[in-house]
Subunit: 350 residues, 2 copies
């Protein structure tokens, strides 16, 4: 375990300067502070080595609920802790904010807080720390975010490409010829990847893959209202959704519009969150094994801490067939509004 003396010797500065830099004193230049922090992380310096505490791991969470068993993040946190705590680590859950990311540099935060490594749930591509992961020195595992090229960073997920293939092949086997796609905003790695994977699956199955078959929006109501009528008009008999909550809202929206799921239109979700078994009808979806993802997160992090440069660790997803998918109807559904609109358009013709 490296000491302040080691850092001072390596950088050719005094131990006092190292101490000041590490404690954030103001009479140390930004350049020196940065050099000290980088060297400290590189050498594996940790205050912990001089205490009896267990080594600490940070589990950063944002954009994801995890308190209750029904929350998406719950099983992942449980899986991670189940592996980490018997191995002698203390797991500290750190709700992450943009403000925190802007106020402190990642490696420095980890060093100051005595964290040996971190597992991140829920980062988006615009999060300030995402850029720092390209060069960070701290062992770091990202769920559903891929930052290639840094030997200290690993990517853990259920294979989204395979999941989309399973869903599209299932709908194809039910006779659906045109499938639409609805997605949350494409500001996160996972939604971008699923979007691309959906179209790849269409191509691999020899199906219509026009880009107009997809629509996305940050707000669910906006997504449904702007894109669903269009997809129905395009003749889609099935809609694939980027995640279960959107699929669940879609089914409610179909019900309001007088469309029957799955008779008129099939709906497939993604994730298999606990509520997917309690929608009406019960949702066909792609399952990610969240407990195993949490365990895999720890395995990848432990490997990075041990010097094994894990890059990517993916699990097979699983298609869960429930009641929201059925054989394609003989004819695509029609929305009353659309018929009205078509009617008035026809009436307006000269």
């Amino acid at each position: 375990m490296a000491t302040m003396d080691d850092i001072a010797r390596e950088l050719g500065i005094t131990k006092g300067t190292v101490s000041k830099a590490l404690s954030g004193a103001e009479d140390v230049s930004e350049t020196t502070r940065k050099a000290v922090v980088e060297k400290a992380v590189e050498l594996g310096y940790s205050r912990i080595s001089r205490t009896q505490e267990r080594p600490r791991l940070a589990l950063f969470i944002l954009n994801m609920s995890y308190d209750k068993p029904d929350d998406f993040g719950y099983d992942m946190v449980v899986g991670f802790r189940k592996m980490a705590e018997p191995a002698g680590y203390e797991v500290v859950i750190v709700p992450l904010t943009t403000q925190m990311q802007l106020e402190t540099q990642y490696d420095e935060f980890m060093l100051r807080e005595n964290f040996r490594g971190a597992f991140f749930l829920g980062m988006t591509l615009t999060d300030p720390w995402m850029k720092l992961f390209e060069t960070c020195r701290t062992p770091t595992v990202l769920y559903d975010n891929h930052v290639p090229g840094n030997p200290n960073v690993a990517y853990v997920a259920a294979d989204n490409t395979e999941g989309m293939c399973l869903a599209v092949a299932h709908l194809k086997s039910l006779g659906h010829k045109r499938i639409g796609y609805l997605s949350s905003a494409l500001g996160s790695y996972v939604y971008r990847q699923r979007y691309a994977a959906f179209f790849q699956a269409l191509r691999e199955n020899g199906m219509d893959d026009r880009q107009t078959l997809a629509g996305s929006a940050l707000q669910t109501p906006v997504c449904l209202q702007s894109h669903l009528p269009r997809l129905i008009k395009e003749g889609c008999t099935a809609i694939m959704c980027s995640h279960d909550l959107l699929a669940s809202s879609l089914m409610l929206h179909c019900w309001e519009l007088g469309l029957h799921v799955p008779q008129d239109i099939s709906v497939v979700g993604y994730d298999d969150i606990p509520m997917a078994s309690y929608t009406s009808p019960k949702l066909t979806t792609v399952r990610q094994n969240r407990t195993e993802l949490g365990k895999s997160g720890f395995y990848a992090l432990k490997s990075l801490m041990d010097g094994v440069p894990i890059s990517t660790f993916l699990l097979h997803p699983q298609l869960i067939e429930r009641d929201s998918t059925a054989p394609a109807p003989d004819k695509p559904a029609k929305l009353p509004e659309l018929e009205d609109a078509a009617g008035s358009a026809a009436a307006a013709k000269p």
Copy 2:
């Protein structure tokens, strides 16, 4: 642990029929035999449960040497055994032939030979068993071959996409503007993936990505003779190779042609096999950590055997900068033959 009775009960047949089917007796129909084998594998039946032997794992190897420390496969085998044997497994190396694959069905072979799972090194896309991996029941890990969609099969490798990015970025930083690519035949998953990754890396670096910048052939001399003159003529100042042996032959061939590596042309290999440090000049290459790949192979296999559906397990590769790369020359090199050819072409003009 399932017994023959369990298999018989599940299939509604007699234990005698199960026994005959498992021992390959001729008076059992092919359909019954297949059903028995599939059920046996599904239930985890193994003769071993009734003996004192250690559970057996198969390490299949083809198209790859592994006997001596200098062989590509050596460290992978060592890494795999280092993890598997202390965990109580017997590792049996099985040199695999096309004949063996044609003569016996994979799951059946594994059951007959009492293997619990397998790690495969060196399969090509045309190997007969590759098709069986799409539906096999036996826990199976493939090095550098990706068969998606089967929860019993995992893919282990060093990230080839990242490796190509490292190599191309290195050459770009040395001022090379046009890079050629030479590859072994594209009959294996890994060479196809590296080929695609090379062009992806060119695009990501904003470089010329014409398909004519690549050439491949099964035989190294054919590859060099058919493609090198063309790449030089295209103005390439650097050549990326699909693997180190090809890069090493390329450097010898350049020397024969009077081209100096790296002054006239830079050369980058892939794999960092032991001989890469002993070429003249020493080869710049992309390293795969073969010992860790072997260990990862066991980890993935153990996970599959424990019911964790690992899909993909990739390690970060590493660029090893040695002496075969240098800043790009002011002008692309010219081959004497090409100048002659150009000369005679000019002379032949009317």
